[in-house]
């Protein structure tokens, strides 16, 4: 295992997930069981949303969750950074292991966990602050106030999300003045400013026009060099274009999980085939 890469911005994380700090450089060393979802079931009150899901998500790859509405793919995604903690009356069974540690372990600090696992939402949700303050929000709440670090991080994150050239002259203007596509890329920049290991994307392009969608997909393609990306999408073409692996969910069950080419060209399950060929969903 290669030596741990020093990570400057998120000191809390190392305490919470000490082992197996990660194999981040070199594709060959990529961990194929980076996220391990084990026999995971999820309940909203009496209603079961996920049934015994078992899934291994590889490092530095794009994994797409597809499936009809209400199939539980978003629930699973939101379980990965424990966003579902915010919902009342929920419970789960099974476990999710990220890089060797269970995210539900009592010693895990959920704030540190969320710093390691960034998230981009379906509806772009920039804060009513300046573009600059939006990008460095995660650093601000982590107590980082060094002007140079903040400036460098902001530029780096904005460049990484291909937004720098468009907003570099209006960093101090309100983020709400950006266009829809720019806002969504700003949200991505905000998520990666924290230098997370994993990026969760919940239908990031569902509210964007085709051009903006194209730019975000291009971005996803570039980001996978450094981040493990899990994306939920309703758009088959998108899943086909930008993911390496695809998981198909139906009625809370994982039906099929394979390399994307295989899912789209030669699915093993009848339900998968019906869905991706548009017979239902």
């Amino acid at each position: 295992m290669p030596p741990a890469v020093p990570r400057t911005n998120v000191p809390a994380m190392r305490q919470t997930l000490p082992q197996n700090e990660s194999a981040r450089e070199g594709d060959s060393a990529a961990n194929s069981r980076y996220i391990h979802i084990r026999d995971f079931s999820f309940f909203y009150g009496p209603k079961q949303a996920l049934h015994n899901v078992d899934l291994e998500i590889p490092e530095k790859r794009v994994t797409a969750f597809i499936g009809p509405s209400g199939c539980g793919k978003s629930t699973l995604l939101r379980s990965l950074n424990r966003m579902n903690d915010l919902v009342d009356h929920v419970r789960h069974t099974g476990d999710i292991v990220v890089n060797g540690s269970s995210i539900f372990h009592p010693d895990i600090e959920v704030i540190g966990l969320r710093k390691r696992i960034g998230m981009v939402f379906q509806k772009s949700n920039p804060f009513p602050k300046s573009v600059y303050e939006n990008v460095i929000y995660s650093l601000r709440v982590a107590g980082q106030n060094d002007r140079r670090t903040l400036d460098e991080t902001a530029e780096h994150a904005l460049r990484a999300s291909a937004l720098w050239d468009e907003v570099k002259d209006r960093l101090q203007e309100s983020a709400l003045g950006l266009s829809g596509g720019q806002q969504q890329r700003l949200c991505i920049a905000r998520a990666i400013a924290n230098n997370p290991e994993i990026l969760l994307m919940d239908e990031p392009c569902s509210a964007l026009d085709p051009i903006a969608t194209g730019r975000v997909e291009e971005l996803i393609h570039r980001l996978k060099e450094n981040y493990t990306i899990v994306i939920v999408t309703h758009n088959m073409q998108q899943a086909g274009r930008c993911s390496d692996h695809t998981a198909f969910f139906y009625l809370g069950k994982l039906i099929e999980y394979a390399r994307t080419e295989q899912i789209f060209t030669n699915p093993r399950q009848k339900q998968t085939e019906d869905y991706i060929t548009g017979r239902f969903g």
Binding site: M83, K123, S124, N125, F127, P128, Y137, G180
Partner: protein
């Protein structure tokens, strides 16, 4: 799929299309009802505002003075004379009629009218207002020589000037060309002197009194333990006493100088009277004023009303202490109610586990808003004044006892009582504003690794400020207009000093204060001469309403600006 469903909808028969629309559409009556409801409400509000603005503004406009010659054959006379002079208050149908008069009125087909006249000269006549029957009036004139004099006591004097009489020396008759400039100069002089006396007595002597008071308290504290220090303090008291005597003597001399000149004037229809010039505040010839001069008097009266202290049981002079008291109290109340209400709402909405208990608390808070305000006044008196204030007194101000410092009504307790009364408004508004922050914003912040408190502080509170301000506006509007609880916890008819002044420690939260709402009540219903106080009631009401409107407008402007700033992304 059956073919039938694909049939295009059949066009309606021609006759139906051409038929006239029914006159009554179902439900139209209710629309009409709602508009009537709104119209009635608007009418009432507009009527109220019109009456208040009309009467309130007119107070400051200098009125003409008329002279009425009464018919010699009429039995009506005023204190044995047939000539009266004064300003017209009203000319309307007679109110009090006996049976014979009613019969006569019916026979003639119209009710008799009467004049209400402000005759002034209360010192001479014992009353300010008289009613004169229309039928008794022979002629109405406006003599240019009539002088209206505003005095520090007894309201206006109305009469013809006769002469200016110095203490010793020759009088200047009113016909003399030197009369007018001399009178003007003398009135300026007495007013300046009056200010000086006031300054001497209130500020300088007040200062010495405060120092002596402090020394006496020190001596009381020291007791018999250190007789030498007590003696030293006694010596200081003695010097202060000496200073006091000098000041008092100066003030006495100034006072005596006020009586140096006297003005002789003739009452309408007869005898001559005199008054020392020291009595005069201002004077004018009402029937000689041009429009511009009247506008000037209007501005001056308005300025006096807004900036000066009341005189004569509050019916004359200004209402500055009441404006200031209302303002400071409302400010203190806002300072108290804001953090209190916002923090409570954050806990209720964000941290408390939603369930039976929180629901019960919420219902209780809402009900609190409906509790009669006097109940809060009683609570404020019992809890803030007696319990909290009493404890403060016995801990920090024990040397002052038995004189209470905080253990009696004061502006701090009034503000606290009103804060308690208005806190439900702020809680409800804040809760609504917090719950209106989009869920996505919250999640985005948490997903960035922010803690819950950081999310509240950085995202939720800034976004809900417009809503919180709305709550504060409502609270302020209610608090500024509230009177009943204040009467128990610190409002007074006449406060000797303002809650802020130049005497250390500058902010005196224990002081009693004046309040516009109470001022209205006091003027209108507690005043010895309610007829004379009526204009002030209207003017004060107008001012209170304006103050509330200004407060509201200011808060609305602030809110709209913030709303622009924090409006959430639209898409």
């Amino acid at each position: 799929m059956s073919a039938a469903t694909l049939d295009p909808p059949r066009p309606a028969p021609r006759s139906a299309l051409l038929a006239p629309a029914p006159k009554r559409v179902a439900g139209e009556a209710k629309i009409w009802l709602t508009s009537v409801g709104l119209a009635l409400g608007l009418l009432m509000v507009a009527g109220l505002l019109w009456i208040i603005i009309d009467h309130g503004v007119r107070v400051f406009w200098p009125r003409r003075v008329v002279q009425m010659q009464l018919k010699s054959d009429s039995p009506f006379e005023f204190q044995g004379r047939k000539i009266i002079a004064g300003s017209i208050v009203r000319h309307a149908e007679k109110i009090a009629l006996d049976a014979a008069a009613i019969a006569a009125a019916q026979a003639r087909g119209r009710r008799p009218k009467e004049w209400q006249i402000y005759v002034g000269n209360k010192d001479a006549w014992g009353q300010n207002f008289i009613f004169v029957d229309d039928d008794a009036v022979e002629a109405i004139t406006r003599p240019a020589d009539l002088l209206a004099i505003e005095r520090i006591e007894y309201g206006q004097a109305i009469g013809e000037p006769v002469a200016l009489q110095p203490k010793d020396g020759a009088a200047i008759a009113a016909g003399d060309p030197a009369f007018a400039p001399k009178l003007a100069a003398l009135v300026r002089e007495v007013n300046a002197r009056r200010k000086e006396i006031e300054h001497l007595e209130k500020d300088e002597i007040g200062d010495i009194n405060a120092q002596m008071e402090r020394i006496k308290l020190d001596q009381k504290k020291i007791g018999d333990s250190a007789p030498r220090r007590v003696a030293a303090l006694d010596a200081i008291v003695k010097t202060l006493q000496g200073q006091y005597e000098v000041l008092a003597r100066t003030a006495g001399e100034l006072r005596a100088a006020q009586g140096g000149w006297t003005l002789a004037y003739r009452l309408p229809g007869g005898e001559e009277r005199t008054m020392p010039l020291g009595q005069i505040v201002s004077y004018y010839f009402p029937n000689r004023l041009t429009l511009f001069q009247r506008a000037g008097w209007f501005a001056r009266n308005l300025r006096v009303f807004l900036t000066e202290e009341p005189r004569e049981a509050n019916t004359e002079g200004g209402i500055f202490p009441a404006i200031f008291g209302t303002f400071v109290m409302t400010l203190l109340m806002s300072l108290a109610v804001m953090p209190f209400g916002v923090l409570a709402a954050i806990y209720l909405r964000e941290y408390a586990r939603q369930g039976f208990f929180v629901r019960a608390v919420r219902i209780a808070v809402n009900n609190l808003a409906g509790v009669p305000s006097i109940v809060f006044g009683v609570f404020g008196l019992g809890f803030f004044v007696y319990v909290v204030g009493g404890a403060i007194d016995s801990t920090f101000y024990s040397v002052h006892l038995p004189n209470p410092t905080f253990g009696t009504g004061g502006i701090l307790w009034a503000a606290a009582t009103l804060a308690l009364m208005t806190v439900p408004v702020v809680i409800v508004a804040t809760e609504e504003a917090i719950s209106a922050v989009p869920r996505g914003m919250r999640e985005a912040s948490l997903a960035c690794g922010a803690s819950k408190w950081q999310t509240i502080q950085n995202i939720i509170l800034p976004s809900s400020i417009p809503g919180i301000l709305t709550g504060l506006i409502l609270a302020m509007a209610r608090g500024a207009g509230e009177v009943a609880p204040l009467m128990l916890v610190g409002v007074v008819k006449l406060a000797p000093s303002l809650p802020l002044d130049t005497v250390a420690p500058f902010i005196h939260l224990d002081r009693k204060f004046m309040h516009l709402g109470f001022h209205i009540y006091d003027l209108g219903f507690q005043s010895p001469d309610s007829e004379a106080a009526k204009p002030m009631v209207y003017a004060t009401t107008l001012l209170l309403i304006s103050l509330v409107i200004v407060l509201n407008l200011a808060a609305i402007v602030v809110r709209e600006r913030l709303r622009q700033k924090y409006k959430t992304g639209a898409f």
